[in-house]
């Protein structure tokens, strides 16, 4: 007789879809579609031979690779994965590849019922591995498809487990549950989506970032706009978002003339990154920051040596009010800043180091004005100010020898002495320009950031192998080459404002205008701006980007891509606050509390700076200890309540199970009119009941004895069960 479709059959299909989509998601996260085919085809074949062709047979008797052979192969896979992790340091990637191999192997293996659960668990972990590896839209689509399959498979697996325990494995017809199951699964999925979306939005961003190094971050495929660091090792896409970040107007010194205009792009520096660590430029840990609280519009002067006179005033109107902190954007180094129309107290952060940058924390003004000098101080002024000979140079270098060699070759080709000890200080500006020129003419600009192999220095790899990248690559490479020939240099991250609105006389700065360039010290304390990114290509790309944006909206995929990148991948605190309404209400209170907590913990973290795992342990303890306390207090309250309920004096330290049995017994006796006084020992009470009510006397004494045995004589579960049974019998006695 032909067997109809069973729950097991439907589960098998869901299992295959889950596994195949998990494998695809991981392969797409690795940007290797070929890998997806290479894994999915054997997985489907294994499933077909071990599952589909064996329909109607007992799961345990299905055909497949013997356990011994599977275990031998497993050992081989484990060895390969360990070797890969050892060589590349890509633990997530190696572990995910290992999971892929196990999943495929398990689909060929002779199977037991528990293997289904393992396959589902591994698929879920594989999805997490994909999330830790990449952020591409195809991967996201694979995950979006996988989640319902996984949920359905997990639900069906529970029914199959019940079937198995009832001794009717694989017997239940799908028809008997299909309709209600579909409804419940659909509603569960809907609830899951709602809950996950709510949590996705309400969880504050930016708090606790990188407390444990880079763990949990995405290995590749990050989408970056303006950030306070440049990290080439993580690759990714430059944000193409056209969201307006700020409006900027440029005034002459006396604020009497708007001097901005089309064709006069402004390099608006936000942060200066002077410390390099293997592909990552950051601000360094030794900055001295002065914090000044401002509650009204008063100018605040920066400590600079720039020349007086010939100043400009930049008026910045931020569009992303509500974020916790922001740099003070300016052109050149700021001389002073004035916050206008403050809604609440704001801290101005002044970095007193050579970078001369500032930041705002706590709240944004509606507008701020920054005054800066067009020209830096003269050489003699600087030398006098800094108390050093203008020809004396600090020893500057770059750690990668190949970069130093290339930098020297560039200068030799330009006819400039590469050895800093032999080169005149005046020639440094020419040397930097030569490197800038070399960068502009020998490299290709692209919005997609190539990813260097983990074992290579990303900047070195870009200069010598990749040779294509976005502004961060160019800036990093030029700064490295300058340092390679003894010229101190640093990467500056900010915006390149070029879109000028004639009607308002202001520059419109968008997220896509995020840019990185270089400042090089071409004399003592004299930092000049260099932009190694090819201006024509950058301009063409930015223009094409704007022109094509509207057309892309019309195309479905591009729209989804933009939504995916803009709404999901690069969702940050600013986006969150815009969505929730500017940090007000309960969400704002929670955010503030968390920020305050993080701020108060900062000194502790800084003290443990060199020992991130200690800090991690402390961080986890701060979560675990309160949770444990809450649980203990909760248990104590429940115990107290139960003690009150059963009328038992304290000090007995019954377990909850014993307490429940006691409660059952005393409740049954209470219903018969025997209330136990709190002071009376249980056995005595049971004996009194035996005298007053012989029908239940022996039962009460037996239950009391069993409880005593369970409590004081390690009676175990059987004794406790006996006590419960006797208590139940008391209840049934008429």
């Amino acid at each position: 007789m032909k067997q109809g479709v069973t729950i097991l059959d439907v589960f098998r299909v869901c299992l295959l879809l889950t596994v195949a989509l998990a494998l695809c998601a991981y392969a797409l996260a690795e940007r290797a579609p070929g890998l997806a085919v290479a894994m999915v085809v054997p997985a489907v074949a294994g499933w077909y031979f071990t599952e589909w062709r064996r329909r109607g047979e007992s799961v345990e008797h299905a055909w497949g690779l013997p356990r011994l052979a599977a275990n031998v192969l497993l050992l081989g896979v484990l060895g390969g994965a360990s070797l890969r992790a050892w060589e590349t340091g890509e633990f997530v990637s190696a572990f995910s590849a290992f999971l892929c191999a196990i999943v495929v192997l398990k689909l060929w293996e002779k199977r037991e019922a528990s293997d289904y659960g393992q396959l589902l668990t591994m698929s879920a972990f594989l999805a997490v591995g994909a999330v830790l590896t990449g952020t591409s839209l195809p991967m996201g689509l694979a995950l979006v498809l996988m989640v319902p399959c996984l949920a359905a498979a997990a639900m069906l697996f529970q029914i199959l487990e019940s079937e198995r325990q009832a001794g009717i494995a694989g017997k239940t017809a799908w028809r008997s549950v299909s309709r209600p199951f579909s409804v419940v699964a659909g509603l569960s999925l809907l609830a899951g989506v709602v809950v996950s979306v709510v949590l996705f939005i309400v969880v504050p961003r930016g708090i606790g970032q990188e407390q444990f190094g880079r763990w949990g971050g995405v290995a590749i495929g990050r989408t970056t706009g303006f950030t306070n660091q440049v990290d080439l090792s993580r690759g990714g896409l430059i944000s193409e978002s056209q969201t307006t970040v700020m409006d900027v107007r440029l005034f002459s010194e006396g604020m009497d003339r708007n001097i901005g205009g089309e064709g006069l792009p402004l390099h608006m520096r936000g942060v200066v990154l002077s410390t390099y660590e293997r592909g990552r430029w950051h601000r360094g840990d030794t900055l001295e920051i002065q914090r000044v609280r401002r509650q009204s519009s008063q100018p605040l002067a920066f400590d600079t040596t720039d020349a007086a006179g010939n100043e400009r005033v930049l008026e910045v109107t931020p569009r992303r009010a509500g974020s916790r902190s922001t740099p003070i954007f300016t052109v050149n180094r700021p001389k002073s800043v004035e916050l206008i129309d403050l809604s609440r107290a704001t801290d101005v952060l002044l970095e007193t180091g050579p970078a001369v940058i500032g930041g705002l924390e706590g709240g944004w003004p509606r507008v701020y004005q920054v005054r800066y000098a067009m020209r830096g101080a003269s050489r003699s002024e600087l030398a006098a100010a800094m108390g050093s000979d203008e020809n004396v140079r600090r020893e500057i270098s770059f750690p990668v020898a190949r970069v130093r060699t290339t930098a020297a070759r560039i200068l030799r080709d330009a006819g400039i002495e590469p050895d800093p000890s032999l080169r005149e200080r005046d020639a440094d500006a020419g040397a930097a320009r030569a490197i800038e020129s070399y960068m502009r003419s020998n490299f290709t600009y692209t919005l997609e950031g190539p990813v260097a192999p983990l074992r290579d220095d990303p900047t070195d790899w870009f200069i010598h192998e990749g040779r294509a990248g976005h502004c961060e690559h160019f800036a990093s490479a030029m700064a490295a080459l300058c340092r390679g020939v003894g010229i101190d240099s640093r990467v500056v991250a900010g915006y390149l404002a070029g879109e000028f609105d004639e009607s308002t006389g202001s520059y419109i700065v968008r997220e896509a205008d995020a840019h990185a360039w270089v400042e090089a010290e071409v004399g003592v304390g004299r930092w000049e701006t260099f932009d190694p990114t090819p201006p024509s290509e950058l301009s063409a790309l930015q223009t094409a980007q704007r022109r094509s944006f509207l057309t892309r909206v019309a195309r479905l995929f591009d729209a989804v891509q933009a939504t995916w990148d803009g709404s999901i991948i690069s969702f940050d605190q600013g986006a969150r606050e815009r969505l929730l309404g500017g940090g007000s209400g309960s969400a704002g209170w929670v955010d503030s509390s968390l920020w305050n907590l993080a701020t108060s913990l900062r000194p502790l973290r800084e003290r443990m700076g060199g020992r991130p795992w200690w800090w991690g342990l402390a961080f986890v303890s701060m979560v675990v200890v309160p949770v444990t306390l809450v649980v203990l207090i909760g248990r104590a309250i429940v115990g107290w309540w139960q003690t009150r309920r059963v009328g038992m004096a304290g000090g007995w330290a019954f377990t909850p199970q014993q307490m429940r049995a006691l409660g059952l017994m005393l409740t049954a006796l209470r219903k018969r009119g025997h209330e136990k006084p709190a002071w009376m020992p249980l056995r005595t009470f049971a004996e009194e009941v035996a005298v007053r009510d012989p029908a239940v006397g022996s039962l009460a004494i037996g239950a009391a004895d069993a409880l005593m045995e369970a409590r004081f004589n390690s009676g175990g579960a059987a004794t406790l069960e006996r006590a419960r049974a006797l208590a139940a019998q008391i209840r049934r006695v008429p």
């Binding site: 659960g117 999805a127 997490v128 999330v131 830790l132 952020t135 996201g140 989640v147 949920a151 997990a154 639900m155 697996f157 529970q158 029914i159 199959l160 487990e161 019940s162 079937e163 325990q165 009832a166 001794g167 009717i168 494995a169 239940t172 008997s176 549950v177 209600p180 199951f181 409804v183 419940v184 569960s188 609830a191 899951g192 989506v193 809950v195 996950s196 979306v197 709510v198 949590l199 996705f200 969880v203 961003r205 930016g206 606790g208 970032q209 407390q211 444990f212 763990w215 949990g216 971050g217 995405v218 999901i568 991948i569 690069s570 969702f571 940050d572 069960e721 049974a725 139940a728 049934r732």
Partner: protein, 364 residues
């Protein structure tokens, strides 16, 4: 354990998401939390307003598949349940079989049923006390259960060994007068088939048998038997499984003899059954008597029970009062395997086959 691992993984996930500011990991964290919530709600709500009723079958027999029906009624929240496992807890007697059933789908409001198939391993009173309904639906993170106290008892008859006809005939080969049974045209009971011969009435032709073998056969009848036999199992000195085997053969004998129309009695201590007419009613009485252990003095009835020598385990007293013992040579008696093992099991795991008993034979 699975739920704890899930919670720990979720915790690690949120720490990773916060640390790496990985938005997709935040999304996964949200899904994980949603899974917990949905799991708690679905598995918890299904028990609200739930009640269960046990419907016991009229007859249970050791070594034979039996079914208990459970009627589950629900008048709770409008969320259906799936994969509800029904288990009997604290089963006493009958080899303490594991009795489980499953409700694949429990409607939000209404009644549904499920059958638990099992094979009682031993005769006796089976005491059922508590029924637990549990589920780990939807994701296996939280296992929830509810237990109902429903004490009931049911009698399990002993397993019936299949006794060969020749053994039965040799036991009671004589009637009350000691005459051998012989065929007769006017008899009321079927005796045998033979080939059609001259003088045979056409009314005596067995048409079906004739069609089957392709040549004419006639039925031979015999006079109604008035044979009688008293069966006395001897279980003294036996372990549990051995005693079960003896009682199983006694039950098989009683059933076969009753079916053959004999008057059958049982000597079984205070639960002895007097000679009764042939038929299932009398044999049922005998089997029910055999279901319960009686105070019998096996040693008194024992003969030839020396160590190393085949023991007489069933004493058969025929109509003339002659007692015979049954010994240990192979006589083709087939015992239900489950009885031979002395255990019990749920149906669906391969039980139900029969094993040939080699210890059993007739010794006259």
């Amino acid at each position: 354990m699975g739920g704890l691992a899930y919670v720990l993984t979720t915790g690690v996930m949120v720490i990773g998401a916060v640390n790496g500011q990985n938005n997709l990991l935040f999304w996964f964290f949200g899904l994980a939390v949603a899974g917990l919530m949905v799991s708690g709600v679905l598995s918890g709500w299904v028990f609200i307003g739930l009640s269960i009723r046990r419907v016991l079958p009229g007859v249970l027999q050791a070594g034979t598949e039996s079914k208990i029906e459970y009627r589950v009624l629900r008048r709770g929240l409008p969320t259906p349940g799936f994969g509800l496992l029904i288990e009997e807890l604290d089963v006493e007697g009958a080899g303490e079989p594991r009795i489980t059933a499953m409700v694949a789908h429990m409607p939000a409001r209404g009644e549904t049923g499920a059958f638990a198939a099992f094979v009682p391993g031993r005769r006796g009173v089976m005491r059922l006390r508590r029924v637990r309904i549990s589920t780990s639906f939807p994701f296996g993170l939280v296992g929830k259960s509810v237990t109902f106290d429903i004490p009931e008892e049911v009698l399990v008859r002993p397993a019936e060994a299949v006794v060969p006809r020749r053994l039965l005939m040799s036991l009671g080969g004589r009637d009350d007068a000691g005459a051998q049974a012989r065929p007769s045209r006017s008899g009321e009971e079927f005796f045998s088939l033979r080939e059609f011969g001259s003088g045979d009435s056409l009314r005596s032709v067995a048409w079906r048998a004739t069609a089957r073998v392709g040549r004419p056969l006639v039925r031979e009848m015999s006079d109604r038997s008035s044979r009688r036999v008293v069966i006395e199992p001897v279980v003294a000195g036996l372990d549990g499984a051995g005693a079960e085997r003896v009682i199983s053969v006694a039950a098989g004998l009683a059933r076969s003899a009753s079916r053959a129309g004999w008057r059958v009695g049982l000597r079984w201590g205070e639960r002895s059954v007097r000679l009764g007419p042939g038929g299932s009613r009398n044999s049922d009485r005998i089997l029910e008597a055999l279901a319960i252990d009686a105070e019998v003095s096996g040693a008194r009835l024992e003969s030839g029970d020396d160590e190393g020598q085949a023991a007489t385990r069933i004493r058969v007293i025929d109509g003339r009062g002659d007692a015979r013992g049954l010994g240990s040579e192979d006589a083709g008696v087939e015992l239900p395997s489950i009885t031979a093992l002395g255990g019990a099991t749920s149906v669906g795991t391969g039980a139900g086959s029969v094993a040939r008993a080699s210890w059993w034979s007739l010794k006259s």
